[in-house]
């Protein structure tokens, strides 16, 4: 079920009413949440519910065993069970074809023809997100940071809670499980901030991102006939499309969760207002970047083992972070670009003994991010190289406009999106809290304006970009 569908518009109030009618028992509320989460996921493909149930059961069981196990070795063994099973599932469903194909290409390059090894595998929606969530649960117990829960329904709800099930935010057990295992309350602040964030999220996704996507798709699908200026504008549009698409999704997720009394962590914090790439990664897809930092970068040694290993760890973390997004060399290169520039930044800061860049840092950061987006969006490496080539050769000429109406709408909505972001950013507040500053009447007027903007400018994209990951 998509957040921007009529189905969700009906689903959310029904679950909301039933949920709060059962407010006397949080355990009954959890049962409702679990059932509705499975309905939400099964709407897409009920067969893959078995994977979520398997993954939930496995980590619930491993969690209990980790708690009970005595000695480092025993704990390590149970952790390995969780790691191998979760990453194994992810490997089969997400990466098998990629590695099989890469293996066949490598063999072919050395003159050994290998039969086609790829399989017809469907990528289950959300598998990368809930796998990371269950993994963090087991690792946190292993590290002694949390205790395993005995509440099976509660744990299954933690894994599958519908607002964050298919595209995050990747919630840590330490934040979410205590909320699930305790009575939730709904206050006026949660209602106001939740409603505001849901509608801002819808506007970001349905109006801004989807309208930008029309132009981006039309250029990127025929990149060979377009000049550098058109490709540059399309890439800038894509930078904002993916931001508003994914942050919009996160806003709807966080806002929806608030209506059920849950507080999720922030996932985006105005990432394009960053003066360094390091800062960008503290603001972009925060639940993933903090996950990678805590469970990968630090596990590899972080910055504790000398300068060379620090750079290696950064690069490796970003390469794997890139691969997390999808089974393609484009994503690896995307991660590689980020890893390389993060390392260069670290070196520059230590050499110049500075902590950040001046205002030019905003431009530098945006340019690096922009170049990396070419690899993220292009269907393959030759296409990405060709696009970068045209942009860097300054192969500029008349700008392709395509559908004038769509182009004007996209530009106008993008400007509105940036202005809204700028307004909230400069208020030293967060989008998560912003709705609380309005009275009920003012909030209703703002939401009404957003609804009418959606009526006039909605675009009908099939999916959210991050669903494919």
């Amino acid at each position: 079920m998509l957040f921007n569908s009529i189905e969700y518009l009906i689903f959310l109030p029904i679950v909301f009413v039933i949920y709060w009618l059962l407010k006397s028992s949080y355990k009954n509320q959890n049962i409702i949440l679990l059932i509705s989460s499975y309905v939400f996921y099964g709407w897409w493909d009920y067969r893959f519910l078995s994977l979520i149930i398997f993954s939930s059961f496995l980590d619930y069981f491993v969690g209990l065993k980790l708690n009970a196990a005595e000695g480092r070795d025993r704990k390590k063994r149970w952790l390995l069970v969780s790691l191998c099973s979760n990453l194994g599932l992810l490997g089969v469903f997400k990466y098998y074809n990629f590695f099989a194909d890469s293996f066949a290409s490598t063999m072919s390059a050395v003159g050994w023809e290998v039969n086609d090894l790829t399989l017809n595998i469907i990528l289950p929606v959300g598998i990368s997100f809930y796998t990371f969530q269950t993994l963090s649960y087991s690792i946190d117990i292993y590290r002694g940071q949390i205790k395993a829960t005995k509440d099976m329904v509660g744990f299954f709800t933690y894994v599958s809670l519908f607002p964050q099930l298919v595209a995050g935010p990747i919630e840590r057990a330490s934040n979410l499980i205590p909320q699930i295992e305790n009575k939730r309350t709904l206050n006026v602040t949660l209602i106001k901030t939740g409603i505001f964030q849901i509608f801002i999220g819808l506007f970001r996704k349905v109006a801004i991102a989807d309208n930008l996507g029309i132009y981006v798709d039309s250029v990127y699908t025929n990149q060979d006939i377009h000049n550098g200026s058109t490709l540059l504008v399309a890439t800038v549009f894509y930078a904002f499309q993916i931001y508003f698409d994914f942050s919009g999704y996160s806003d709807i997720a966080i806002g929806s969760a608030k209506l059920f009394g849950f507080n999720f962590n922030r996932n985006f914090n105005f990432p394009y207002f960053s003066r360094t790439l390091t800062e960008f990664w503290r603001r972009w897809h925060m639940s993933l970047s903090f996950w990678l930092k805590d469970y990968l970068y630090i596990s590899l040694g972080g910055n504790r083992k000398g300068i060379v290993l620090t750079y290696r760890n950064l690069l490796l973390t970003m390469l794997l972070g890139g691969l997390w997004h999808g089974s393609s060399w484009n994503f690896v290169i995307w991660g590689g670009i980020h890893g390389l520039f993060l390392s260069l930044e670290k070196y520059t800061f230590s050499a110049l003994k500075i902590k950040t860049f001046n205002s030019f840092g905003y431009i530098y950061t945006f340019i690096v991010v922009l170049i990396s987006w070419v690899f993220f969006r292009a269907p393959d490496l030759p296409t990405a190289s060709s696009i970068c080539g045209k942009i860097f050769r300054l192969d500029f000429g008349p700008l392709f406009i395509g559908d004038l109406n769509a182009f004007v709408n996209a530009t106008l909505l993008l400007s509105m999106g940036i202005l809204i972001d700028l307004k909230i950013f400069r208020s030293n507040s967060s989008l998560e809290d912003y709705g609380d500053r309005f009275s009920s009447v003012k909030l209703s007027i703002i939401v009404s304006v957003i609804i009418l903007a959606l009526c006039l400018f909605y675009s009908t994209a099939e999916n959210f970009i991050y669903f494919q990951f």
């Binding site: 709904l186 206050n187 006026v188 409603i195 009404s448 009526c455 400018f457």
Partner: protein, 313 residues
């Protein structure tokens, strides 16, 4: 949730619904007023102009962008109009044909492409381009309601009828794109010097769609064709010709044969020109593999005109 929170929540919901509903109507009726005066632009102006001239013209052309760019109606009659619009299909054409006065003597040319008839995903979504006339034109409203292409929310928020078009309408209201009185709906595609080399690359790389052994007919498209057929039978004063205009290189003939067979079954006159210029290797006739340039369109219109003369006289 305590009673105070519940009251606040209900207040916000009711206020939001009331304000958004009222302002929606205000926007809708304002846009209606403005859009009725707009006669330029592809989104609404062209449709408005068509509705104003449809029953006084001798010659009308219906279809998609290929109809729009390929048929120079001015060569056929001074009293003519080409209502070919980008991205539309058989549902759009069928709905507009059903708005015509049945008694009026007219020559009607309907441009059809095989794609609509063999594409399993076609669901008459092109009819959404007519939603600015929802609840304002009975025939179009009926077709939109039957199509299932309207959002359920559209019955509450009327301004959704102007989705994606509002800015274009306002712009054309204040600054019309062209002089509509001298516009007959035909939009030739010019190929500039700088575009020629790109066009040649695109044509040289063009690979025709994969041919299938068996094409399943799309029932939605067929339903709309049946609707046109009923209209044809009820309008003895009108002459209907169905055509498919040339494509640069269409390797598959099975789909064309299938469409020709349907037209024959329906007793409709159908001329298939898909491969007319396939072997002439003249790139100057083309803007891209789907659309002819002005030069190609004029050559094709001339040929069509001669065929009309020889067939209809």
């Amino acid at each position: 949730m305590d009673s105070k929170t519940l009251k606040k929540f209900i207040k916000i919901i009711i206020l939001t619904l009331a304000i958004s509903y009222s302002v929606d109507k205000l926007i809708f009726f304002s846009l209606n007023k403005i859009s009725d005066k707009v006669m330029t632009g592809q989104a609404v102006g062209k449709l408005n102009q068509f509705l104003s001239v449809k029953d006084t013209s001798d010659f009308l052309v219906f279809g998609n962008s290929r109809a729009n760019h390929h048929i120079d109606v001015g060569m056929f009659s001074e009293s003519s109009y080409n209502i070919g619009v980008d991205g539309t299909g058989i549902a759009y054409s069928s709905t507009l044909i059903n708005t015509l006065q049945k008694e009026k003597k007219q020559l009607i040319l309907v441009h059809v492409d095989t794609k609509n008839f063999i594409d399993s995903t076609y669901n008459s979504q092109d009819i959404r381009s007519l939603k600015t006339k929802f609840k304002r034109n009975n025939s179009i409203t009926e077709a939109l309601n039957k199509s299932g292409q309207l959002s359920a929310l559209q019955h509450f928020y009327y301004s959704m009828n102007y989705n994606g078009t509002a800015i274009g309408i306002i712009k054309n209201f204040f600054k019309p794109s062209y002089d509509y009185k001298s516009y007959n709906g035909y939009d030739p595609l010019e190929v500039s010097d700088s575009q020629e080399s790109i066009r040649d690359i695109v044509l040289s790389k063009f690979i025709s769609k994969t041919c299938l052994n068996n094409y399943n007919l799309n029932q939605v498209a067929l339903k709309h064709l049946k609707s046109i057929k009923s209209f044809v039978e009820d309008s003895p004063n009108k002459t209907f010709i169905f055509i498919t205009s040339p494509s640069y290189n269409d390797a598959c003939t099975e789909d064309n044969e299938k469409l020709a067979a349907i037209m024959k079954d329906f007793n409709l006159t159908y001329w298939d020109f898909t491969n007319l210029y396939k072997n002439n290797k003249n790139n100057s006739f083309w803007k891209d593999p789907t659309h002819m340039s002005q030069k190609g369109a004029e050559a094709f219109s001339k040929l069509l005109q001669e065929k009309f003369k020889s067939t209809l006289n």
